[in-house]
């Protein structure tokens, strides 16, 4: 048997990042952009303008079933969530469907926990990992809302789309899950959709963001901004 190379996970935006001159690091088996230009420039761009980051390596789980909520409440210290509401990375998409976003790698343990809880409850609940199936593009910066208003018909005003809200809608003519996840005071959204459309959505948002001076940022800038 020949396994000369250690398996490495690439995100659907890997080629785009290479073209944009990223340097990469490996984290939890994923090769992800560390920095594109300089850490300082990227942080300033996020704080003052508009940036896009590849966060595909975040773990993603779907939990489906009429009893999904009770399984979740048994597993985590979680109150009831309304549809489109979220808390601590758990978002309710339908009465019987939840989307769980985890830091890279954490999806394994969370999935185990949920599987155990669901088995114990003897309820019909399906837990599916879709980390590899969904590209996740983080839009960060004061112009986030304006950028999204160019590609999506939803109302992104904070009164209509508060922090920790998740909505599925049409973005650049594709179906995307849009989650508002501010970094402190800094407006930020996660755009999550099938990975095969990831490069297209990335390119489309980069083009639409030109007028705001959009730049890509890497893991280093995300960490500096307080996202780990």
């Amino acid at each position: 048997m020949n396994t000369s190379k250690t398996p490495v996970k690439l995100t659907p935006l890997h080629s785009a990042a290479q073209r944009l001159g990223a340097t990469f690091i490996e984290q939890r088996g994923w090769r992800i952009p560390q920095v594109y230009t300089t850490l300082e420039d990227e942080v300033v761009a996020a704080q003052e303008r508009l940036t896009l980051a590849d966060e595909t390596s975040n773990g993603k789980l779907l939990l489906e079933g009429d009893q999904a909520e009770s399984v979740l409440m048994d597993t985590f210290d979680l109150g009831s969530l309304k549809i489109n509401e979220g808390h601590d990375g758990i978002y309710r998409l339908r009465s019987d469907l939840f989307f769980i976003s985890t830091p890279p790698g954490r999806e394994i343990s969370i999935r185990k926990k949920l599987t155990t809880a669901s088995a114990a409850s003897e309820q019909f609940v399906t837990i599916t990992e879709v980390t590899h199936g969904r590209a996740e593009i983080r839009v960060i910066g004061p112009h986030s809302q304006e950028l999204l208003s160019k590609v999506c018909g939803l109302d992104f005003h904070p009164s209509a789309f508060p922090n920790e809200t998740a909505k599925q809608s049409s973005l650049a003519k594709t179906t995307q899950l849009i989650i508002r996840c501010d970094i402190g005071e800094l407006p930020a959204f996660s755009i999550i959709g099938v990975q095969s459309l990831g490069p297209y959505v990335w390119d489309t948002m980069m083009e639409a963001g030109t007028e705001f001076g959009v730049v890509p940022i890497g893991r280093a800038a995300l960490a500096a901004l307080g996202e780990e």
């Binding site: 020949n2 690439l10 995100t11 590899h132 003519k173 639409a208």
Partner: protein, 977 residues
């Protein structure tokens, strides 16, 4: 006529600097018009700069190529349409001059001032109304010639197909209240609405807020004095109000259902969702129809005021004012105070009807005033040299004996206003003709839609403001902010003096234009009505009136009057044409916006590109069609081993105890006996018995199944399954789309097992892992699902790996296969390989009429199952017998490959050819070295192996023979090796 040198030096039409002007005189910029250089100041429009330089003719008319000059100066009429660089049909009166701009006149040949095509007006009796419908129709075969000639002569501007893509985009806006129009009414409505806490978007098509207050004169005794002084205050209040967002240079193009508005600002299109709308769009000044009324130098009063006050430009030195209201007197006073020689005021009213505050002053200054007079004709050939006027008798008829000519170089008409109410009517508003006002005004609007200001017939500024404040509060209250003001009925300015004359046309003997866009004359309108196109909607379509760039702004009211008169109807009886978007022309680029055509790529897209793949579009997917030589790729698979990226395959996960019953219902074959670890092929039909999709489904573990669908059918089948699950068959079933979670590669060929064995510890021996089985295995260290299936007809493994590992697994497979000369293969090679096996492709070999019994898949249909989708229809088809069968064929001449889609024909007794079938797939088989294919044939031919039939090729017929079964390895031994 000026020389080119003059143009650069003469600025005699420029007034001294005055307050309110928008030009920056400290800077001078240069641009060209038809190759001649001119100067301008920043803030100038192309038209204001050209007018300052004394240029009067800006374009040639659409049909007769008559010279045309500035008319409305507000971006509504077609007279100043020019070409700027590669952009056609730009309105010179609103487009700011930029340094170095190259402006050209349109529709001229060979030049603006000597247009040979203007000779068409000599033969204008050959270009009657309905010209397009009457002429160039027969003989039909000459149409290409006609079209070529017409395209040269007609149309405006030049489209350069080499122009690079412009940068257009769109933006969605959401708000509580939209105010359309930023004049005193619009501003006041916005302020009142915003004060309640509502979010307000205020749209203004001009570069600045203020509406007519920007260019009307604030003289002592004027009725507009107070408000004009208030304009800076209004603007300041808007600035201070955080709930108002102002969009200038933005035209609202249309209203659509549920308060969805469309607006355009330059290269950006806005799609606006609001909860209420205030229409404060003002009014268009209505031109008067008289002989040669299109002569350059005939202008609307408001156009002159714009030129004078915004740009400091005088369009003439000696002016005749033709009017029927106080607005004309305002213009006269304005011009006179600037030292212009007002040659005459020609007012159609009795002296007693004139209430202008300037009357005394102008009379005392010796300005000749002709009451009860009107204009007969504009005199001059290329531009105005004089005006012929005449007295009106007691009945209001023209007394020709009193005709006299006055010398002038500018004729100003101020005859009345057409309220700009298109948006209100698009939204469902109703209107009535007010005879006392001679205006068609709104009488009711749907809830949440308000009309104010001149659009509602309110001209006095103070009335406009109070009316708009009420409407603004109501618009906000409609959304839930503040209280309703009950006095909402349309007053339609009943207390105001009449501003609009019913005399829209002074009969004469020369050309009189109703419609400047399409060169429609009053005579054309009468002819059209005489020919039976008497209703206003028919008249519009037949004459093309109001269908040009002005979209009715200049012509709709006049046409209604002419139509009413010719039919002897009242204006109310005549009615109006339906208001439709766009209210003003919009570039196709703005409608298209940023290019957003979704493209799906697999995780190893870049690898394909790096290895010379020729990519093809399949649905939204980009897939390698081949890497250079598809026949060689197919041969690699037959003889050695190949690898294809089949990641676009639909991959659905079904979990739960209800799944077996669902599979029984949605597939035509049997499923409830599929054991864990097994894979089965299945066909899905709808209830008509039509084949929707095919693929395999694997039983993964107790309660998990893994279904694949065709690449292009994945989304449709997912939605189809969602429908059945959510409409009653979903008990105990969860469905998840894993199409993107797994990438899939098919490793095919006699060496595929050997290659795969290098990468896994899993026992791949035929006994341990036979055909149509599923196994999980680590491949190159990555947990994968392996499906042993064979679309290509060779031993093959479909490797499904988590997409993040796709490149790793793909490269590991390619590395492992190198010693066996592995080749990546594309869709084309796969199509050859499957055709050699006579495997069908749903959607290629089947269509929306194909059932599986006829499509050679009867083996996959179990009509003895209790029920499944399509069964009742298939039972009936089975009983009646298929009408056509899908079957393989070989060509008699082995090198002739008939195109897909060609007809299969039979000779009838009379020698005619009858179509009896068609080709769905055909290729040259590199393995068999002959042409093969699939086709639909009548059962009597299809059922005989070797039966010959005829294909209609391009210009000749070719013979082919029916072939039953697979062309290659008919017993399927290679799959099971």
């Amino acid at each position: 006529m000026r020389t080119e040198q003059d143009a650069l030096t003469t600025t005699s039409n420029r007034l001294h600097p005055k307050q309110g002007e928008v030009i920056d005189r400290s800077t001078t910029i240069r641009f060209t018009f038809d190759g001649v250089e001119y100067t301008a100041h920043p803030g100038d429009t192309v038209a204001s700069a050209l007018t300052a330089a004394g240029v009067k003719v800006l374009s040639r008319s659409f049909k007769y190529h008559r010279p045309r000059g500035l008319l409305c100066c507000s971006g509504h009429c077609p007279n100043c349409l020019v070409q700027i660089g590669d952009e056609p049909n730009v309105r010179a009166c609103t487009r700011p001059v930029e340094p170095g701009m190259e402006v050209r006149a349109q529709n001229v040949w060979p030049s603006l001032n000597r247009d040979l095509l203007s000779l068409t007006q000599l033969g204008s009796r050959f270009m009657p109304v309905g010209f397009y419908y009457k002429t160039f129709i027969r003989p039909q075969k000459l149409w290409p010639l006609y079209e070529h000639t017409l395209r040269h002569a007609a149309g405006l501007g030049e489209v350069d197909i080499d122009t690079p893509l412009g940068e257009f985009d769109k933006q969605y806006l959401h708000t509580d209240v939209v105010i359309v129009g930023g004049g005193p009414a619009g501003i006041s409505a916005a302020l009142s609405a915003a004060e309640t806490g509502a979010q307000v978007l205020l749209f203004e098509e001009n570069p600045a807020l203020g509406g007519h207050l920007r260019f009307t004169v604030p003289l002592e005794s004027s009725s507009t004095t107070k408000a004009s002084k208030d304009l800076p205050e209004l603007l300041e209040a808007v600035d201070r109000q955080p709930n108002i967002t102002v969009f200038t240079d933005t035209s609202v193009l249309g209203w659509y259902q549920d308060n969805w508005l469309c607006a355009v600002k330059g290269a950006r299109l806005f799609k606006i969702r609001t909860k209420s709308v205030v229409v404060a769009t003002g009014a268009y000044e209505t031109p008067l129809i008289f002989d040669n009324n299109d002569l350059p130098g005939v202008m609307l009063g408001s156009a002159v005021q714009r030129l004078v006050h915004l740009f400091g430009v005088l369009p003439g030195g000696q002016v005749v004012i033709v009017t029927a209201n106080e607005d004309g007197w305002d213009v006269a006073a304005d011009l006179q105070s600037l030292g212009v020689n007002v040659a005459a005021i020609v007012d159609e009213r009795e002296p007693s009807a004139c209430a202008s505050p300037y009357r005394e002053g102008l009379t005392n200054a010796g300005v000749p005033v002709f009451y009860r007079h009107t204009i007969l004709e504009a005199l001059g050939s290329n531009e105005v040299r004089g005006a012929k006027i005449a007295r009106l008798d007691g009945q209001g008829e023209i007394s020709l004996a009193t005709a006299q000519s006055l010398q002038c170089d500018l004729i100003v008409t101020s005859m009345g206003w057409t309220p700009a109410t298109e948006l209100a009517y698009m939204a469902g508003g109703k209107s009535e003709y007010h005879e006392d006002r001679a205006e068609i005004l709104p009488v009711s609007t749907p809830p949440g839609i308000y009309v104010v200001g001149r659009a509602a017939g309110t001209h006095a500024v103070n009335s406009q403001i109070s009316e708009a404040q009420r409407a603004g509060s109501n618009a906000a209250a409609f959304v839930g902010f503040g209280e309703f003001d009950e006095s909402t009925a349309y007053s339609s300015g009943v207390l105001e003096p009449r501003r609009t004359s019913e005399r829209v046309c002074v009969p004469g003997k020369k050309k009189q234009f109703v419609c400047y866009c399409e060169d429609v004359t009053d005579e054309d309108v009468e002819t059209a009505i005489a020919e039976g196109y008497d209703s206003i909607e028919l008249l519009k379509r037949y004459s093309t009136i109001s269908m040009g760039p002005c979209q009715g702004a200049m012509c709709s009211m006049n046409t209604i009057h002419l139509c009413a008169r010719a039919n002897d109807w009242t204006v109310q009886e005549t009615g109006t044409t339906t208001a439709r978007p766009p209210t003003t022309p919009v570039t196709l680029g703005a409608l298209a916006g940023q290019n957003m055509e979704p493209v799906q790529t697999t995780p190893i897209h870049q690898w394909h590109l790096d290895h010379g793949a020729d990519m093809m579009v399949a649905g939204l997917w980009l897939r390698p069609n081949h890497y250079g030589d598809p026949a060689a790729e197919a041969t690699s698979v037959r003889e050695r081993v190949g690898l294809i990226d089949v990641s676009p395959l639909g991959k659905l996960q079904l979990t739960g105890p209800g799944v077996p019953e669902l599979l029984e219902r949605i597939y035509t074959n049997q499923w409830d006996n599929l054991r864990v670890g097994r894979v089965r092929y299945g066909v899905m039909c709808n209830d008509e018995g039509v084949v929707l999709n095919d693929g395999v489904c694997a039983h993964v573990n107790d309660e998990t199944w893994y279904m694949t669908t065709t690449s292009t059918g994945a989304t449709t089948i997912f939605e189809w399954l969602q429908w059945w699950l959510q409409s009653g068959w979903g008990e105990g079933i969860h469905l998840t789309d894993l199409t993107d979670t797994y990438s899939a590669f098919n490793l095919a060929g006699p060496q595929s097992r050997t290659v795969l064995e290098k990468l896994t510890e899993r026992n791949l021996a035929n006994k341990a892992f036979p055909y149509m089985r599923l196994r999980s295995a680590k491949i190159a260290g990555v947990s994968c699902r392996l499906l042993r299936i064979g679309f290509t007809g060779e031993l093959s493994y479909e490797v499904h790996c988590p997409s993040g590992y796709a490149l790793h697994v793909w490269e590991a497979l390619m590395d492992a296969g190198r010693e066996f000369d592995i080749a990546p293969f594309g869709v084309e090679a796969q199509r050859i390989l499957r055709l050699e096996k006579a495997h069908i492709i749903v959607g290629q070999d089947t269509d929306a009429m194909s059932d599986p019994l006829s499509a050679n898949m009867a083996w996959a249909v179990k009509l003895d199952k209790p029920d499944f989708l399509g069964k009742p229809s298939l039972m009936r088809i089975s009983a009646e017998g298929p009408k056509q069968l899908l079957v393989g064929f070989k060509m008699v001449e082995p090198n002739v490959v008939p195109d897909e889609g060609l007809q299969i024909v039979e000779s009838e007794a009379d020698g005619q050819l009858k179509i009896v079938g068609w080709i769905t797939s055909s290729r040259f088989s590199p393995t068999l070295e002959e042409a093969i294919g699939l086709c639909w044939l009548p059962p009597d031919i299809a059922s005989q192996n070797g039966a010959s039939f005829t294909i209609r090729m391009d210009g000749h017929l070719a013979e082919a023979r029916v072939h039953h079964g697979a062309f290659y390895d008919p017993d399927g031994e290679r799959l099971r090796m």
